[in-house]
């Protein structure tokens, strides 16, 4: 039986690099739609502005969730991509250090994941593709370096999701 897969692009169109998750998911939409992919490799693509109940709902309804979001940390250069698999315990340190939210009106992603864990509603697999941002000021422009990173992440996701159908 094919697993229910979701790709969640989280971001804010008006906070510079923080829009990268939304840009990515809009590009990913056609690639993973039912018309263009094999049944085993389809995934629901969801745009999110980080709203807590939407994200928790997505976790509860899917077996595998991929998240694309901007991350902000001094250990990564702008545009660098990091893949964090929640099931990989060696990622715990990085998760703790990538917990700062850029929104002042909601819970950050780490807190939402912790809440899902407390409520026992985490998906069986949760993977975060973080794209390092640098400029979160009020602008609707995304740095071109991050646009290249979006293509990289989509390619990695495509490989990963297609790989699932062979297991």
């Amino acid at each position: 039986m094919s697993k229910k897969i979701a790709i969640l692009g989280i971001g804010n169109d008006f906070r510079g690099d923080d829009s990268v998750g939304l840009v990515a998911i809009r590009k990913a939409k056609t690639l993973f739609s039912e018309q263009d992919s094999s049944p085993e490799a389809t995934a629901k693509t969801i745009e999110s502005q980080g709203e807590i109940s939407q994200i928790l709902d997505c976790f509860e309804k899917h077996d595998i969730v991929y998240i694309i979001d901007a991350v902000n940390t001094p250990t990564l250069k702008q545009g660098e991509v990091v893949r964090l698999d929640l099931n990989d315990k060696s990622n715990a340190f990085q998760m703790e250090n990538l917990s700062a939210g850029t929104s002042t009106h909601s819970f950050n992603l780490k807190q939402i994941i912790d809440l899902a864990e407390a409520l026992n509603t985490l998906p069986a697999q949760l993977v975060i593709y973080g794209i390092a941002g640098d400029d979160f000021s009020t602008t609707d422009q995304l740095n071109p370096r991050l646009i290249a990173s979006v293509e990289q992440v989509i390619s990695m996701l495509n490989t990963e999701i297609n790989g699932l159908s062979h297991h």
């Binding site: 709902d57 909601s106 407390a118």
Partner: protein, 441 residues
């Protein structure tokens, strides 16, 4: 948010400093000093970068105000839209048809539900149950947290269906809505709202069991009042101490002053000083307008129709949550859309000043605009509810600390944070410069 507890203790001096306040929207810090066993100084410091929205609005078309101001806040965008829209419609003496009026109330109910559910379950309840945050509370109270999230989701759905999307809705405009929903589209919300209303009844029971610190005060409560309904979009401004004015008279009764230690302005009644807006004010001034289900729920938990303890604002918020679900269902049940086209508005022949107050989840939100004869905004003034409560919050902190100086610094700090969260302050909205001078080139 990070919290650092800095304590300086001497023989007679005590300082409590919280550099970052957790579980409020935005960023703020608190400074309290005591001297010789009495509270000496209380300062609630706002250090969000000042906002320039009032300046952004100058030179924009009147229709743009609702979408621009809605960006001030991610948790109460509908409030900003409604205050802007109602203000602009005054310029044209426009009264929307009743079904549009109902849709606006429904949209506002959606926002109240989103905001109140988030605050009650994720921000404030942990204080009363002794948890540092909702995540740790969720481990022991999963059903209650899930209940809160279910209710928030129901509110999100109202805003999505009626507003076009859950966050920063885009469907409301001066004169009505860009797209009027069909009866069936609204009917799809009914089942989840009915279930959520039942959950709200359970939530009222749950919060009524919380241990509430003993504190009360003779506040001046200020809220909208309408002859027929619990206020959301319309009404006169009243208080329990004699205020009864049209919103156009706001600037003759209220004043803002810039306080050195904070970027937010402090509001006061010119005649009497500090006042309180928000759920406690609405409830105390408009209890008789609440539907039967809410009045009975209050009676069942032994909750009076007058509440003077700000710590019990969580109970009032939960009762308002119940109201919002019930009102949403009433509107959906009776909804009859009509053929309607937004009229073309005849622009004023000279500069016109327009006003509005609507009831954001946190209290009255005042907008005032000056429009020129081309419909361009020449000046704007926005007074969010949290600004209006700033002074009262500081005074309440003073009073709470004064009563609890026997507590350890750690426990007193937690109590101060809980006190601030009584007002569900939206600090991100409550900052702006008093004046901005602009030279047109």
């Amino acid at each position: 948010m990070k919290k650092e507890l800095k304590v300086k203790t001497g023989l007679k001096t005590r300082k409590i400093q919280v550099d970052y306040l957790a579980r409020v929207e935005g960023e703020g810090s608190l400074f309290i000093s005591t001297k010789s066993g009495r509270v000496d100084t209380v300062q609630l410091k706002i250090f969000e970068p000042p906002r320039f929205f009032e300046a952004f609005l100058r030179g924009r078309q009147f229709e743009e105000a609702s979408d621009i101001t809605s960006r001030i806040c991610g948790i109460c965008p509908v409030a900003y839209q409604m205050s802007a829209i109602h203000a602009m419609e005054r310029a044209f003496n426009f009264k929307p048809p009743s079904f549009i009026r109902d849709l606006r109330r429904l949209l506002y109910c959606g926002e109240w539900i989103e905001s109140h559910a988030l605050h009650i379950f994720m921000l404030h309840a942990p204080d009363f149950l002794g948890y540092p945050d909702a995540i740790r509370m969720a481990k022991d109270h999963p059903e209650s947290v899930k209940r809160g999230l279910q209710m928030k989701k129901a509110g999100n759905e109202i805003v999505r269906v009626l507003g076009g999307r859950e966050i920063h809705p885009i469907n409301a405009k001066v004169g009505g809505f860009y797209k009027i929903p069909s009866k069936n589209e609204l009917k799809t919300l009914s089942e989840s709202l009915k279930a959520a209303r039942e959950e709200a009844l359970k939530a009222v029971q749950w919060v009524s069991t919380f241990p509430f610190p003993d504190y009360s005060k003779d506040y001046e409560f200020v809220a909208l009042s309408h002859p027929d309904e619990y206020p959301l979009n319309e009404g006169r401004l009243i208080s329990n101490k004699g205020l009864n004015i049209d919103v156009s008279d706001y600037d003759n009764h209220f004043a803002e002053t810039h306080v050195e230690h904070t970027h937010a302005l402090h509001s006061s009644l010119i005649a009497r000083g500090e006042y309180l807006v928000g759920p406690l004010a609405r409830y105390n001034l408009n209890f008789d307008k609440l539907p039967k289900i809410v009045k009975e729920a209050a009676r069942d938990i032994g909750f009076s129709n007058v509440c003077l303890n700000p710590f019990q604002s969580i109970v009032v918020r939960t009762l308002e949550l119940l109201f919002a679900f019930d009102e949403s269902l009433r509107i959906i049940e009776n909804y009859q859309p009509e053929e309607f086209e937004t009229p073309s508005f005849t622009l004023p022949t000279k500069n016109t000043t327009v006003y509005s107050c609507t009831e954001a989840p946190r209290g009255i939100l005042y907008h005032r605009y000056v429009l020129n004869k081309d419909g361009i905004i020449e000046d704007a003034k926005i007074v969010p509810p949290t600004s209006q409560n700033q002074k009262t919050i500081e005074l309440d902190l003073h009073g709470v600390v004064e009563k609890n100086l026997h507590l350890s610094n750690e426990n007193l700090t937690l109590l101060c944070e809980q006190t601030i969260r009584n007002y569900d302050p939206c600090i991100s909205c409550a900052t702006h410069f008093l004046k901005l001078e602009r030279k047109d080139v």
